[in-house]
Structures are given as C-alpha cells and as structure tokens.
C-alpha cells in the first residue's frame, strides 16, 4: 500500500512538473495548429472567407506550377544549405573539440557563434552589402585582378545559400561539438588496438557515433531553413520564390488566410517527412 501510494505521489509530482510545458504546447501549438488545419479547408471567395470545408486550396496548390515550384525551390535550397552546413561545421567542430587546447575551447566556441549575437535581419542586409557589385568580395577580386567584371552574386540563389550557410554552420557546430566532446577516448584507443588507421577510425567509429549530433543539427537546420522568409526575401532578390514567400503573398494584400494556411500545412508536411527520414538518428539526449 505504502509503495503504491508513493508511486502515485511520484506520478502526480511528475505530472505537476510536466503540466506547464504541456499546457503551453497545447495552448500555443496544438490549438493554433488545429485551427490552421481547419482554416486551410475553408476558402476565400471574393472578399469573404467561406467556412464550408473543401480541398480547393490544396487542389490549387497541386494544380499551379508557380506554387509547386515554390515547394521545389524551398526543398532544393534547404537540402543544399543543410549539406553544405554539415560539411563545413563538422571540421570546425572537430578542430575545436580535438585540436584546440581545452582552456581555449570555450573562447573558440564563443568566437564560432559570435555572429548569432547580431540581429538576423541586420546580418542578411550586411551580407547583401558584402555580395553586391560594389561589395567587399567583388572589390577584392577586382582589386587583385582575378576577375575583370563584378560577379553577379547578390539577388541570386547563391546569395540566399551563402546567407543561410553562414547562419546554420554556427548552429551545427554547436550540436556536433557537443557530441564529439562526449566521446570517450577509449573508442579511438580500441580502434587503434585493432589496427585501424586514423581514417578508418573516423569512418567506422567516430562518424557513426557522432551521427546523432549531425542529424539533430541537420534536422534543426532543415526546419529553420525551409520556414525562413527573411533571407530569401533580402538576399534572393525575389528572382525565385520559396514557399514562405508565397505564403506571405497570400496574406499581404488579399488576406487569403485559408490559402496561406494550406501552404503552411504543406510546409509542415515537408518538415514531418524530414523528421521521419532522420528520426532513427535523432537521439537528442545524446547530443
């Protein structure tokens, strides 16, 4: 009896701790999400929102090339950014975790994430100034004679990718670094004992063990990148639209909230799919 009542008390205490987060999630995620899902089944007809459920918005999305292209642009840019960010962040995290002396690691990490401290919008506009025809990069390349005409970087997909990668390399460096420093040196010693060289140790031991950190960072990158409106808007020059920009177009003048909701649901499905694909490696507790 005493054990049971203690268990009940523990359970009540546990629910007490979880309840605030649960209430928060239900109030600010589940309820708004359900409302948005319901709204995506309404439609804007003329100036009115018609609250009769139908699939018109989804049919329109899959029937219009310009809208579908928004999704494909979003996926292409997001995947490119995620892969590039991982490729750049891993060596950086490795250097900080393995090559930088312990007493300087904190400083190195702070330096790596320093750009996080500036506003996201300001950072995007700063990149715009760096990448323009008269920007630092073009002027430097022209100055040393590598190019004779300025490169067209600003207002292109390349500019969008550069802006994103700069931001997400910082994020990925943190998650991968956190994973790397947790690895016991015994793994490497054991691999060396068994005759593995450095490359083999990395490929067969270190990399698989750091996959949770990589995948967690990559998933966060995917989620944040595919839903971002600001960077493509500022750096991409509207020369192609990603899905969040198309969502904003629906709201801007016409206030077509049902269509905007449907597009947001499509965006969430893409994120859910990404989660399903990397769920097996997403062990956040190990990061």
């Amino acid at each position: 009896m005493t054990t049971l009542s203690l268990e009940n008390a523990d359970r009540r205490k546990a629910w007490g701790f979880v309840a605030p987060a649960l209430v928060w999630t239900v109030a600010f995620f589940v309820v708004p999400f359900l409302f948005m899902a319901a709204m995506s089944l309404w439609s804007r007809q003329g100036r009115e929102i018609v609250r009769a459920w139908n699939l018109d918005n989804y049919l329109r999305f899959f029937g219009e090339n310009a809208l579908l292209k928004g999704l494909s642009n979003s996926l292409e840019i997001t995947l490119t950014v995620t892969v590039l960010s991982v490729l750049l962040a891993y060596p950086l995290a490795w250097i900080i975790a393995e090559r930088v002396p312990k007493r300087f690691q904190r400083t190195a990490l702070i330096l790596a994430i320093l750009p996080f401290w500036t506003s996201y919008v300001v950072r995007s506009y700063s990149w715009l100034l760096v990448l323009t025809k008269n920007g630092v990069i073009n002027q430097a390349l022209l100055g040393i004679g590598i190019i004779s005409e300025p490169l067209e970087i600003a207002s292109t997909r390349t500019a969008t990718v550069i802006g994103f990668v700069h931001f997400f390399v910082m994020l990925l460096t943190l998650t991968i670094y956190a994973n790397l420093v947790q690895l016991s040196p015994n793994y490497r010693r054991a691999a060396a004992d068994l005759g593995a060289n450095g490359l083999q140790t990395f490929w067969h031991v270190i990399l698989p063990l750091t996959l949770p950190g990589i995948m967690t960072g990559a998933f966060l990158t995917f989620v944040l990148c595919i839903g971002d409106y600001i960077t493509p808007q500022i750096l991409g020059g509207n020369n192609e639209l990603v899905l969040p920009q198309i969502i904003m177009l629906q709201i801007g003048r016409r206030a077509d909230l049902p269509m905007a909701s449907a597009l947001s649901i499509v965006l969430m499905l893409a994120v859910t799919l990404a989660y399903a694909l990397c769920a097996r490696w997403l062990k956040i507790d190990r990061v």
């Binding site: 008269n134 067209e152 207002s155 003048r253």
Partner: protein, 369 residues
C-alpha cells in the same frame, strides 16, 4: 551588516516572520504601484499605420499636446491590416492608415466612422488627391487623403541616359539589361505594364492580363531583382542597380542629401499615383481623440512632418504644408512640379476580388520565371 544578520537569522529559522513581513511589505508596495498606475497613466490611442507614422518627430508633438500615448502598429498591405482588425476585439484600434484605393473595401466591411466635413481641411487638400469617390460614400466622408506619391521610374542620373527615362519602353531594352530593380508590389507594376501597353489602369480587365503578363515576364528577364522598399533603396543607393521601376520620390527623397545623383521622373506614357488615407475606426471608444489625431495628421504641421518622415518621403496632401517645409525638402519632393505631374498619372488599378486574385497569380508566375 544588518542584511547578514537577517540572513543568518533566516537560515537558522529564528525569525521566519521577518521574511514573510518583508515579502508582504514588498508585495503591498508593488500592488500599490500597479493599482495606482491606471490613475496616473496617460490616455492611449491605438493606431494601425504605415511605417512613415512611426517617426517620433511626427508622433511626439501630438502626444505632448494632448498628454496621450499613441501606440503604433505598422503593417504592410491592406490584407495584413484588415487581418489584424479581424483578429482583434472591437475597440482595440482607433485609427487606421489605408491605401486610398482600398477605402471602399474597408467601407464594405463597415469599419470606418464618418468624419464630419467641417473637421477636415478639405479645401486645402490638392484637388487631384481629394478622391471623394474613394474616401466617401453616400455623401458622407469616411477617410481623408494624407499623403501621395508616384510609382514611376527612379534612377541614378550619373549612370543612365536621362532621356531614356522619359520612355517606359526603354526599360525593356538590352541597354539596361541587369541594371533594373522592380518594386515588389503587383498592383502598381501591373498598372505600369498596362501603361506601357497604352492601357488605362481604371479600364484593365481579365482580357488584358495575358499581354501584361508577357510584358512583365520580359521585364523580369531584363532586370536584376524584384524587391521591397528597403532592398530596392539599398540596391539603388549601392549601385547594384541603376533604375528602380515603381520607384519615385518616396525612394529617392530620403536619400537626397547623401545621394544627389538619385532622381526620378514620370515618363511620357505616364506613371501611377498612389495615395494613402487615414480613417477613424467605427468601433473606437475614443472617437474624439482619434478624430483629433486625424486632424493633427492632416494639419499643415503634421503634414510636413509626415511628408519627410524617416521611413519614406512623399508629397503631403495638404497644400498648406509647404509653409512648414524647407526649400531643400520641397525640391526633393518636387513641390513645384506637381501641377505638371498629376495630370500625367493614373490611380492604381482597383480590381474586383476575382480580378485581384488573377493579378496576383500573374505576379506570382512572373516572379517564378
């Protein structure tokens, strides 16, 4: 010393009442401040505005003169503004700034309160922008034009042939390929493409859209970017582009001191006239204060401040505002040229909801090309 002593006593549990007493004293003091606050607080006015109204030099004189705090929420696009109102409680908002061509849309939703004719300086407002058809219904005034300007061609005169800028079609020529930014707002740009095709904005129909779309796609292929206000301004100021189609004094005016080579003109085919109106929300519980705010904004002093607001410059609707502007400000606004500009311009297209949807689709398809 006493703090340490109290701390020790609390740690040892000798004087638990002291801790509770201090807590209660603090709580009582905080509660007194909290409950006293409303009686000391100024009156407040909530205004849904465009970014030009967020300049403190415009708002502070009204706040000080009326001992009121004006809470400003800026938005872009009528749809976004109307969504905010739809999602608010009646009475949350007192004043709204709205695109002149969208006043009737708001009136369809029964949003605005009538403004007494004798409360407005109608006689002082430039006749071309009074826009009775937009701002009134059934003989009653519901909104008043506060500012206007042009969506036309802004350019860097040190980099382009100024004579070319008198002809809209030159922007489609190879000579300016990759040197143009297009302002990212479909209504004026569809209107401008229509002007280039010789069509009046007020007469645009579904049947005109295929030809307009072709012209827009060709223009996009000739341009560097399609961008919002800040990005367009940045591109023009940094030399990333030499021309902004859809720009005007609202882009170059604020930069006139630093970038004297930035200029704008209305080409022979004409340009688009944009106007913004201000209105009092029907559900406002502070009708008198809200009306006072509107009166301040359309007064000569308020108009001069609004015209040269830090967000963007444009012509004030009140002709008496000129008395409060410097010669340099008037020159940047082209004050003395208005008489020749206004006849060359047309208002934005005012599409039905269905045509509006089709226009937006054309714009989206153009952007995705």
């Amino acid at each position: 010393m006493s703090v340490g002593k109290e701390g020790n006593e609390m740690k040892t549990g000798k004087r638990p009442g002291a801790c509770m007493r201090r807590f209660l004293q603090s709580a009582t003091a905080l509660a007194a401040i909290a409950f006293a606050a409303p009686t000391l607080a100024q009156d407040e006015l909530n205004a849904l505005v465009w970014c030009d109204h967020t300049d403190p030099t415009l708002i502070e004189p009204f706040e000080q003169a009326n001992n009121v705090k004006v809470n400003l929420k800026d938005f872009e696009g009528t749809g976004a503004g109307l969504s905010i109102i739809e999602q608010s409680q009646p009475g949350d908002w007192d004043v709204m700034v709205i695109d002149g061509v969208d006043v009737q849309r708001a009136l369809d939703m029964d949003l605005f309160a009538e403004l007494p004719a004798d409360a407005l300086p109608t006689a002082d407002i430039f006749p071309e922008v009074r826009l009775d058809k937009n701002n009134s219904r059934d003989g009653k005034i519901y909104a008043v034009t506060e500012k206007f300007g042009y969506n036309t061609i802004a350019y860097d005169k040190s980099k382009v042939d100024v004579n070319d800028m008198k002809n809209l079609s030159s922007l489609w020529s190879e000579k300016y390929k990759g040197r143009i930014a297009i302002y990212d707002y479909y209504l004026p740009l569809i209107g401008i493409a229509g002007l280039e095709l010789g069509k009046k904005t007020a007469e645009l129909t579904d049947a005109d859209l295929p030809a307009i779309k072709d012209r827009l796609v060709a223009l996009k292929q000739n341009s560097k970017q399609v961008s919002d206000v800040v990005s367009s301004q940045t591109a023009l100021a940094t030399g990333e582009v030499d021309i902004l189609l859809g720009g005007g004094e609202w882009i170059t005016g604020v930069l006139s001191a630093d970038k004297p080579d930035l200029d704008w003109t209305i080409p022979d085919e004409g340009g688009l006239l944009w106007t913004q109106s201000i209105a009092v929300l029907k559900t406002s519980k502070k009708q008198e204060l809200a009306r006072k705010f509107v009166q301040y904004i359309v007064s000569p002093e308020g108009q001069a401040r609004l015209a040269t607001s830090s967000c963007y410059w444009a012509m004030p609707a009140n002709s008496k505002a000129g008395d409060h502007l410097t010669d340099a400000q008037k020159a940047a606004l082209r004050w003395s040229d208005q008489a020749s500009y206004l006849p060359k311009t047309q208002l934005y297209p005012v599409p039905s909801a269905e045509l509006d949807q089709k226009m937006q689709d054309v714009w989206t398809e153009m952007l995705q090309q």
